[in-house]
Each structure stands twice: as C-alpha cells, then as structure tokens.
C-alpha cells in the first residue's frame, strides 16, 4: 500500500510524465479561462494524442488538464461573476461580492488556497479510502442516493435567510428549482414534459446557461447602473495586499476548509451526483458556521467563508470522482467517460484490478491531481494581483468583454440559440430575485438535485416497495436531513438563551 503510494509518486515524477503533465496544465489553464471550450470537449480532442504514450504519461497529461479547469473556473466567478463552469457558480455569491468591495485579491487568494487544500485533502482521503472504497460505493444504492439528494435539499434551510419569511422564500425558490428540473423527456413514460413544443427542451434545461444567466446578468445590470468599475471607487494599491490575506483566511477557518473538502470528496465518490451538487452543499455547510444572525446576513455579501467552502469542495471532488471510473469502470461525468476511453486505449481494464494489480498507476493519478493543483495555484498567485486589477477597470470598458464571455459561454453548451434564450430568461429571473431579496442558492439546489431525487425515488419504490425506508444508511441520512433543517432553529434558540 505505502509502497504503491511512493511508486505512484516516482512514476509521475519521471521527466516524461512530468513534461506531459505541464503541457496538460498549460492547455487546461487556457481552456478554463476561455469561455466555451468546455473541459470535456477538450479532453475528447486530446484523446488521440495518448495512443503512443505510456499509461502514467497519458493520465498525467489528461488529468493534469482536467484538474486545472476546475481551479481556473473559479477565477472568472470571482472577478466578473461569470461562472467558468457549472461547477464553479457557488463561488460567485461571496467571491464576486468581495470583488465589489475591492477585495478581489483576497477572494482569489482564498479561492486558490482553499482549492489547494481541497485538492490535497481529496487526494489523501482517496488514498486512505482505497481499501474500503468498493464496499463504500456499493453501500450507496438508489435509496441511499435519493436520501443524499434529500439531505442536499435540506441545505435550503441553511441557504435561506432566517425567520419565517426568509425560510418561506427559500423553500419556494427551491420548489421552483425542483419544478424546472422536471422539464424534458421523463424516464418512466418517455413523455416530453413542459417542452413547449420545442425540440430544444427535450433534454431538459442545461445547467450552464441557467447559472450564467442567473448570476452573471444581474451583476452586469448592476455594473451598468452603478457606472463605476467592479470594485467601485477605491484607492489603488489596496488590492494588491489582499492575496496573502486570502491565504491567511484559509488557515483562520482551517477546519471549515477541511470539512468542505471532505464533503466534496464524498459527493465526488457518489456516482451520478455531479460536481455542482458538491459545491452548493459545501456552501450551505459554510453558512452554517455563522454564529450570530448578523454573521449569517454577511453571507452573500462578501463573507470569505462563502468562498472557502465551495473553493475547497470544487477541487476535492475531482479526486473522488475518479473512484467510480477507476474501481468500477463506470464514469460519473462526461469528462470521466472520456478518461475511461483513455483506459481502453492504454490497454488497462478499469475495475478491481486498478485497486490491486495496478495500484501504483491509480496512485500516480492521485499524485497527478495533487501536483497539477500545486503548480496551478502557484502559477495563479503570480498572476493574481494583475487579475485583481481588472476589477478597477471602468465598467463601460469591461462590460462588452463580460457579455461576450457570458453569451459564448452559454451558447457552447448546446450550440443552439435556445441556450441564449435560456440565459436571458434566467437573467431576468435572477434580476427579479435579487431585487425582491429572494435567495438564488436554494433555486439552484432544487434545479441541480431535482432530477436525481425524482429518478432515485422512482427506482427505490419500484425495486423495493416501501421497504427501502428501513435500510440503515437511509435512516441515518433521514436523521441528518432533519438535523440540517432544524439546525438554524437550534442556533436561534441558543442565541436567545445566551442573550437572556
């Protein structure tokens, strides 16, 4: 075990593997920053190049590229409020709010440092979990996955503002998300639901145009209305000191970062939950760390913990999502499906063998994720202050650029004009929600988890009748969901008691 761990490291550090990894990182960096060139498409295009490589070199190349896009996606989220990928939207809420306060440097520093911690924790949790990972994944059947989605939905309680009115708004927004998740062809009867007679909606709403519209458009309108730069009228020079502060924040809230990393790894391991879920659950958990009502109100307005949580989860989930692909040969995402193609090309059969006979290769992948993240974060820090300066550029110069990012970014998800319509409509919804003070996070959580919850509930009842409710892990998850919902109440009571 330990031997394989070291052997994996040695494999990655051979000059050829390392050179390919650097090449991959360079490519991934570009792809992550450029809107429209999705990580999955780039992986598909790079696949032919691995034919002549050795397995370790090939995975260093592909994974190096893949793990970087998750990090760089956070950068545009913080700087412009435009999510680089579906999985990096949660960073916007507090990251962009910080940028507006002139703390872009600190927010980026925090996002990058927490990403790094997340990647490290994810990789080590993975290495430690390898002996038990097959039973762990197999314990989570459809009933357990359904309950996991319910726990995710329970985080709506944490993501809504407190008090009856706030909760009501939060849960209504969540319900709207759940409702929109039902759009598309349903898997039981094959009927196209709410497709409005269009072919575009057959596959349901794509997450990227919705998220880009929901978060970026309101910010663009706001920027136009204010007529200043993103950071407002701030004295120059204040920005550059921020990055280090962000790193310090990561260590100030170290346990939160670790916990969110573990959430990310765990959700990553669960096949079919998807990257966006991990980030939003981590964000929900981060808001729970607020001790007072005032602190809670700060979330969404630039609390650094709101950046640390999703930042950590975003990268730690990468390690986790390797597991279903490696140990079972079942990919959890499009990117992983393409990676699986890479396995075949290299003559490796994913499955139990990867955890015994080819353990060193598996560990070399874990190491690749670690090293690629370390290199990316260091490279980003070198550029960070320059990037943060962008938030002092006058809005009228920046807006055209951001608009291009927004529309190209969403159009490339299906190459269909419907993507643009969805972006604009969700932009309208997002703007109204901001105006009226409705939280957007519960809406996203509902949208992201809706289909998962529906399908797994159906499978659970079709397969087990009502019996699935008595499965032990299901009971534990029910308890967790209840605890998550009641936690804000408990907090309120404790505060009341403390004041009395």
């Amino acid at each position: 075990m330990l031997e394989a761990l070291l052997e994996g490291l040695v494999l990655v550090l051979q000059w050829k593997a390392l050179a390919f990894m650097l090449l991959g990182i360079l490519l991934g960096f570009w792809v992550g920053l450029l809107p429209g060139l999705g990580g999955a498409t780039t992986l598909a295009q790079m696949l032919p190049f691995v034919y002549t490589m050795q397995p370790v070199e090939a995975f260093a190349f592909l994974l190096g590229m893949h793990s970087v896009t998750a990090t760089t996606g956070d950068i545009t989220s913080v700087l412009f409020g435009v999510p680089g990928e579906a999985a990096s939207a949660a960073t916007i809420l507090d990251g962009y709010a910080m940028a507006k306060k002139g703390e872009a440097g600190r927010a980026l520093g925090a996002a990058l440092a927490s990403s790094l911690v997340g990647a490290l924790v994810g990789a080590f949790a993975l290495a430690a979990a390898i002996p038990i990972v097959r039973p762990l994944v197999l314990t989570f059947g459809s009933p357990e996955l359904f309950m996991l989605a319910v726990v995710g939905l329970a985080f709506i309680a944490a993501l809504s503002s407190q008090g009856g009115r706030g909760m009501l708004r939060g849960f209504l927004a969540g319900a709207l998300g759940l409702f929109l998740a039902t759009i598309g062809q349903d898997p039981q009867a094959g009927v196209a639901r709410y497709a409005l007679g269009t072919l575009y909606l057959w596959q349901g709403l794509d997450l990227v145009p919705v998220l880009v519209g929901l978060f970026a458009i309101p910010e663009i309108i706001d920027l136009v209305v204010r007529g200043t730069s993103i950071a407002g009228a701030l004295p120059a020079g204040k920005l550059s000191r921020g990055a280090l502060e962000g790193v310090k924040d990561t260590f100030r809230h170290f346990w939160l970062t670790i916990r969110c990393s573990l959430i990310g790894t765990f959700i990553g391991i669960m096949p079919g939950m998807g990257g966006a879920v991990a980030q939003w659950m981590a964000y929900g958990h981060a808001t729970q760390s607020a001790r007072t009502a005032e602190e809670r109100k700060g979330f969404g307005q630039g609390d650094v913990r709101g950046v640390l949580g999703p930042g950590a989860a975003n990268n730690s989930k990468e390690g986790g999502s390797l597991i279903p692909t490696i140990a079972f040969g079942v990919p959890g995402s499009t990117a992983m499906a393409i990676l699986l193609g890479g396995f075949f090309l290299l003559g490796l059969v994913p499955g139990p063998d990867m955890l015994s006979k080819h353990l060193a290769v598996t560990f070399s992948m874990v190491w690749t994720i670690v090293i690629a993240n370390v290199i990316t974060v260091i490279a980003c820090f070198a550029l960070l202050n320059k990037l943060a300066q962008l938030t002092t550029v006058r809005g009228s110069l920046l807006i055209p650029v951001i608009l291009v990012l927004v529309f190209i970014g969403s159009y490339t998800s299906n190459n269909h004009y419907g993507d643009l319509v969805v972006t604009l409509l969700s932009g309208g919804v997002g703007y109204l929600m901001v105006l009226a003070g409705w939280p957007r996070a519960p809406f996203v959580l509902g949208l992201v988890l809706g289909k998962i919850a529906e399908n797994y509930l159906y499978i659970s009842t079709a397969r087990y009748g009502a019996q699935w409710l008595t499965r032990p892990v299901v009971l534990v998850l029910i308890a967790i969901a209840v605890a998550v919902i009641l936690y804000p109440l408990f907090q309120a009571r404790r505060r009341a008691a403390a004041h009395a």
């Binding site: 197999l138 898997p187 075949f344 797994y456």
Partner: protein, 331 residues
C-alpha cells in the same frame, strides 16, 4: 500556337483537377447529434482522423457536436438547413426512423430521402445477467421463479425496449426498473445487486462480460463479431406479429452508426464519400486505433441502409400501431 495550347493546358489543368478533386482545399464537417464523450462522438472523431487520406484532395475533416432532442435537432439541420454541397455529413441516433414511424412531433426529415453514405458499424443489443445468478441459457431464463429485475434508462432506449418486448412477447419473468441516468449507472446497480441485469449494446457491455460481472444470454438480430453464438429474440417468438415487432425494433441497429448528407447532394460527391468511408473503415491504422479503443467498425453500404429504412417506414398501419404501444422514440 504552342504557347496557346500551353495556356489552355494551364487553364485546363486546375479545372480537370477540380473535376476529380472537388474536395481539395475544402473543410468537411461531421455533425454529431450528441455531446462530446459518447459512442457516436468517438466514432465520428475516429473517422475524422482517417477519412482525409481516402478522399481525393485531402480535405480537412472536423467534428461538430449539435446535441438535443435525441439528435433530432441535428437531423433536421442536415435535412433542411445544411447546403447540399457535400461538405456537411450528419451522424445521428440510429432510432431516428422510429421517430418518423411513430409520428413524433418535430420530425422534419425523411430517413429514406437522405443521401446515404452508409453506416460505420452494426450495434447488436444483448441481454446480460449477473454471473452469480447462474442463468446461462434461455431455458434457465424461462425457469426463473422470482422476477428478474432489469435496470433501464427509459422508454426509447434499448435498455428498456428490448427487455420490454421479451417480457410481453416471450413471457419472460422480468421486472423492468427505469430511471437510471446512464447505462454506466445501471452497471453499478448490477454490481451492488440492486438489479439482476440489463440490456444494451454489445460494445458497451463487453468490458463487463470480460470481467465476468455479467453473462450474455440473448441478442437481437443485428450481427456483430462476438455475438454469433447467442440465440436471437425473433427466433424464439412463435407468432408472426411478435416477430414483426421485434424485427422493427432491431432494424435500426443494422445501421448502428448512420452517416448521411443532404438529400440533394450531387452523385459525384456521394460516390467519393461512399468510397472514402468504405476505405477508411478498412484502413489498417484506423483498425489498430479502434481495436485499442475497444470499438468495432464495419462498413454497411448505403444500399443496405436505404433498404432497411424503406422496409421500416413501409410497415402496415396495424403493425405500426401495435409497435408504438411498446416502443417510443428516445435516446
């Protein structure tokens, strides 16, 4: 005089070259009806790498993904919007004729009228069950007392339609559970014994057969190397109506990776493309790559493809009605 001839010759040279090589200096686009990452996409990208060698004039070949509505958007595009200049090729969901047959709203194409290049592979659907169940033959399957739980994605997919017809027409004791997000998710459900087996294309299940997780029991009609010894569903059906419905379901699989162009494409372009596909799929380098990627390509000619389409779309009304009771258009 000589110089005049020379000039004519000079002028004629590029012209005659153009006549033989309409593709020189051009860019050919293969439109895939799905996002990057799936089998249709992988096949198209493999072909895009090897086609240029076999097209006179060596054009650049690129792949464009146009996902949506189970590739109906892409098919409508190639049929109605793309120019008939031989520079746009479409590859879509093999079940598109089912959408046309069952009058799905939004169909704006006629499968029999496309300029067919052919198919890059046949895809045979099989039923595979967990090895530990010890069900090795159709007889064992018939003897099963407990219903066998079959995991499926949803109507319109072979994971659902194939076992449904087995249950309805052959009376197998199956319980089909739908809602899995992908065939990969069903595989995991098999591994944790939530379901007993699944149907799906032989290509996608083969790695799990090799790993001895599942064992194939039965297959549909389309031929493919590796499935020959399995019994065929149609052969087990006793009544002709059942046979007809099963045949109708499996017909598109013979044209498993369809490649077409706009209906008005010139015969010259079409001829060049058909030859290029036939040669590219026989190309040693392509075969080496495909074998490594565990893909199996075999060229099915345009004549066969058109024949299959015509047969499918000229079924008597009562057969179509019965068919649409069971099979819907989907992924």
């Amino acid at each position: 005089m000589k110089w005049k001839l020379g000039l004519i010759g000079l002028l004629a040279l590029p012209l005659s070259a153009w006549a033989q090589q309409p593709y020189a200096g051009k860019t050919l686009t293969i439109i895939v009806g799905y996002k990057a990452g799936g089998g249709y996409d992988a096949t198209a990208r493999l072909l895009a790498r090897h086609l240029p060698k076999h097209i006179p004039g060596k054009p650049t070949v690129i792949v464009q993904n146009m996902p949506g509505a189970n590739s109906m958007i892409a098919a409508n595009h190639v049929y109605n919007v793309a120019k008939p200049d031989g520079l746009t090729i479409g590859t879509f969901n093999r079940n598109l004729p089912v959408a046309q047959l069952t009058n799905v709203q939004g169909v704006k194409y006629d499968m029999t009228k496309f300029a067919w290049i052919g198919s890059a592979a046949s895809e045979c659907t099989i039923l595979a069950l967990r090895t530990d169940l010890q069900i090795n033959s159709v007889e064992d399957l018939r003897r099963a007392k407990q219903p066998l739980v079959i995991g499926a994605t949803g109507p319109g997919a072979n994971t659902y339609d194939f076992p449904l017809l087995l249950k309805e027409f052959l009376g197998f004791n199956l319980k089909i559970v739908t809602g899995y997000q992908s065939s990969a998710d069903i595989m995991l459900a098999i591994e944790r014994k939530e379901v007993d087996g699944r149907a799906g294309s032989f290509t996608s299940i083969r790695p799990f057969i090799d790993r001895k997780l599942v064992r194939p029991v039965l297959r549909a009609r389309a031929d493919e190397p590796g499935v020959e010894q399995l019994p065929i569903d149609e052969d087990l059906a006793t009544n002709p109506r059942a046979k007809a419905i099963m045949a109708l379901r499996s017909a598109p699989e013979i044209v498993g990776r369809p490649y077409v162009m706009h209906p008005d494409t010139s015969p010259e372009h079409l001829k060049i493309m058909r030859e290029a596909f036939a040669k590219a799929i026989d190309d040693k380098e392509l075969i080496a790559e495909a074998t490594k990627a565990k893909m199996e390509l075999n060229y099915v000619g345009a004549d066969v493809a058109v024949k299959v389409m015509k047969e499918m779309l000229s079924q008597p009304k009562d057969v179509v009605e019965e068919f649409s009771k069971y099979v819907k258009f989907g992924e």
